[in-house]
Amino acid sequence: MKWTRVLAIARKTLRSLKHDRRTVGFLVLMPLFMITIFGYTFGGSIKDVSVVVVNLDESDGNSSAAEAVLAELRAGGILKVERVYLLDPETDGYLGATDQAALVGSAVSEVESGDAWAAIVFWGNFTENVAQSVEDIGSVPTGGPGTITVYIDASNSNIAQAVMGEVRLTVQEVVVSEYHVLPPITVAEDRVYGEGAEFIDFFAPGVMGLAAMMVTFMLSIISFVHERSTGTLDRLLTTPATEGEIVAGYALALGLVGLIQSTVILVTAVALFQVQIVGSPLLVLLIIFVLGAGNQGLGFLLSSNAKNEFQAVQFMPIILFPSILLAGVFWPIEAVPDLLRPVSYFVPLTYAVEGCRSVMVRGWGLGDVWLQLAVLVGFAAVMLLLSALSLKKRR
């Protein structure tokens, strides 16, 4: 081995980097970008999970254990109590319901509609039962334990765990600080969605969206950089093919690629991991198709800012990291720090993951995920329109 030759190769490599200023910038800024975004998102914990509470506990005021637990839950920060349903017409939260079943029913319907992650119900005699259980410690119980039922949307396993954990812990803390002992208290979990769902059920829709997004974006940006550098794009535009036709043709093809890929993931997930698909698989595929078409457009637009495949690849992390970290693929948006949460709502993948998860775990139909689908259709339409317009511009 001759060192002068090794040095010659090394020098040539560094020199060619020097000629590509953007790459030099990328090499410096990319790690900065990565450590910042990873640091912020990994540092975050779940908070502000929307819940509703039904307080049927008959003792009120200072003596009410339910009120005490509720106050602690509000103070905790993990849960955000949107509404408290009360039976007593004298109180502020009175909603006109005359029986317990109707009250619980309307709270649970908020969970069913996706407005709240959980409905926490303190049953009647909660305070009385807790006090009785404390007295009974060490002897035969004379009555049932104090009971709380959490009607929960377990389509997001991270959130479900956080809610259940928070309720159990808070009840224990409040009772222990009041009575200095811990009597049996029942915190029952009743799943509104995600009956029997495990982490993989929560995970699969996210991975599907992410995979479809990565592949369509990558194929699109690389294909178009190639089309531009080899002159085929110019050539296509000297045929009667219009800009719109070219862009739509690509969107169709890459949307289908996303579809095939999602089908593979779906089938594998069901076969190997018994992932449940409660809703329509076709609706899931529709969502993925639209996501794929939109990412094709995004890839196209960015391709006009890349001179070669190497520069195209640099766009990958810039687009991918926010999607991976902020779109609710691995952890819920509720765990994204406040600073970055607005960004989550600008990441199209967020809506695809939410849509797929709602269909697969909650069993929602087109009427329930129309918003997510509409956002994705809008994203795709804008991207494809901009692509066609940018093709019209000639040097």
């Binding site: 080899t230 002159g231 050539r235 009667p240 000639r394």
Partner: protein, 255 residues
Amino acid sequence: MKTSKGVKRRRVEKDGDAVVATKLRKEFGGLVAVSGLDLSIPKGTLYGMIGPNGSGKTTAIKMIVGRLRQTSGGARVLGEDSPLSARLADIGYMPQEMAIYTDLTVSENLQLFGSLYSMEREAYIKREEALLSMVDLSERRDSLVSQLSGGMKHRASLACAMIHDPEVLFLDEPTVGVDPELRVGFWQNFADLKARGKTIIITTHYMDEASRCDIVGMMRQGKLIAEGRPEELMERTSTSNLEDAFLEYSWRDSV
């Protein structure tokens, strides 16, 4: 309306032009690539554009077919101003960089262009057969373009530009890397096309090839320094071949 005979005749001539360029100019930053190019190429002409690298041939053609925006001036093809839309179906363009899909087979490339020109299935099949034998790629129709030699790629690219039998054919250096024997075949084909009334504009730096053209335009530093029939050009410069004629015109231009 009364018009004089002369005016009328000139108009008829203009209608007979396949390609017209008027004061066509292109600057890239401060660099002038084409400076005030005037062309009028009658239908049914085999027109050769010759000149060294960087003389503006490719830039001129790109502006005429509408892939580059001119800085000033204008171009018309078959009566339509560039950038073309309605007339795109009537032109064929083979860029210098070949511009075919290397990850497709020869036949798949041809099918793509056939479909983009909305060709009928039967007409397409016939045409594909004829073109593949013309460019001598019948045996390699199912080979990926990336596996072909440089010359073969050029021939495949030429076939793609001709699939729809266009009225006007723009060929940017079509014979680079094509061996001499096949090149003779190519020129025979161009002559046949011309006989059928097609217009062909070819750029080349093979001077011997240019002598096969009806009209030769010599380009230097973005402008036309001479134009005429090959024998005229040689006669006017008292030279015996186009290469010497070009050198003579270049010298006159630089003085």
